[in-house]
């Protein structure tokens, strides 16, 4: 057995450190929904979701990330929905890790829709 390098004890220490550094994040609670049905997972939704979270954290945005199952556009998976309060709900298709990063930096951070990946729009 290899040595267990970290343990829950490390997590506790890390948490104490982080809590000193970070102040609670303010925000308007944007919601992002990732399609995690069989089709989504097979198409790479897991990687897209991890890239998404990675970028959200880098930019220090306040975003709720949740998941849903298959919505019937399997050929366009991975699918991600972005709901900015007061704006139209946008569904993005073929979301690779790179596209996910674009969505965060353009749409979530700056309110600019990433047009080439939009597959649906529900007007507010």
């Amino acid at each position: 057995m290899s040595k267990k390098i970290n343990s829950l004890e490390d997590l506790r220490k890390l948490r104490a450190e982080k809590e000193k550094l970070t102040s609670p994040r303010e925000g308007d609670n944007i919601q992002v929904i990732v399609g995690m049905g069989t089709c989504g997972i097979a198409a790479g939704a897991r990687d897209a979701m991890l890239a998404l979270l990675d970028e959200i954290n880098k930019k220090n945005l306040k975003v709720n990330v949740t998941q849903t199952g298959c919505i019937g556009m399997c050929e366009k998976e991975p699918l991600i929905d972005v709901i900015v309060p007061g704006k139209s709900r946008i569904t993005y298709g073929n979301v690779t890790a790179d596209v996910a990063k674009n969505i965060v930096s353009q749409h979530l951070a700056n309110g600019q829709i990433v047009q080439q990946n939009v597959v649906g729009k529900i007007e507010e």
Partner: protein, 179 residues
């Protein structure tokens, strides 16, 4: 295979389980790679179990196609392994599938820690236990024991995700590799 596990645990979640246990065994000695996913969800009756691996059947109401279980079955059969479902209404469901490690079509294990992280982020209300066993070691990890150390808003923060990933990788994945 890590994708298949993620997919099947999603089934358990849809079946309203609040506890899901994933047991992974990798043994070179027995030439076996096996996965057992047990949940305490609403379960299935005999008829449903029989239909469950038919790709044109699903309990979902929007469409009649479900592919999680048929995929798992197909993969197991291609690699000379077994596939079983044991389920009782209101008791929960056990899905077991295995592969011959030496078989050409034995699927790569894949990014298991990414699977765990996905489950960790999305299913806070459910107890997810991962158990890994190899020829010379075993390791268990549950999401709840990590939540205990954190506040709810911290779960999706990057340093937590990174830590969980690393922790999982160093313990579970290494245990598997040594098998």
């Amino acid at each position: 295979m890590s994708h298949v596990i993620l997919d099947l645990v999603q089934n358990s979640v849809s079946a309203k389980a609040d506890k899901v246990e994933i047991k992974l065994t990798a043994s070179k000695r027995q030439d076996l790679l096996s996965v057992l996913i047990s949940d305490n969800g609403k379960g299935m009756d005999e008829e449903q179990v029989r239909k469950a691996t038919n790709p044109f059947y699903s309990t979902r109401e929007t469409r009649d196609i479900g592919l999680g279980l048929p995929f798992a079955k197909m993969m197991a059969e291609q690699a000379n392994g077994d596939f079983k479902i044991l389920s009782k209404p209101s008791k929960g469901t056990n899905v077991y599938f295995s592969f011959r490690l030496s078989h050409w079509d034995c699927p790569p294990i894949g990014d298991l820690s990414a699977t765990f992280v996905s489950l960790f982020i999305f299913h806070k209300e459910i107890l997810v236990i991962f158990k890994v066993k190899s020829d010379d070691g075993s390791f268990t990890l549950s999401n709840q024991e990590i939540y205990k150390e954190l506040s709810a808003s911290q779960i999706t923060e990057q340093w937590v995700i990174e830590w969980v990933r690393e922790y999982f990788e160093k313990n579970l994945v290494n245990t598997l590799k040594e098998g």
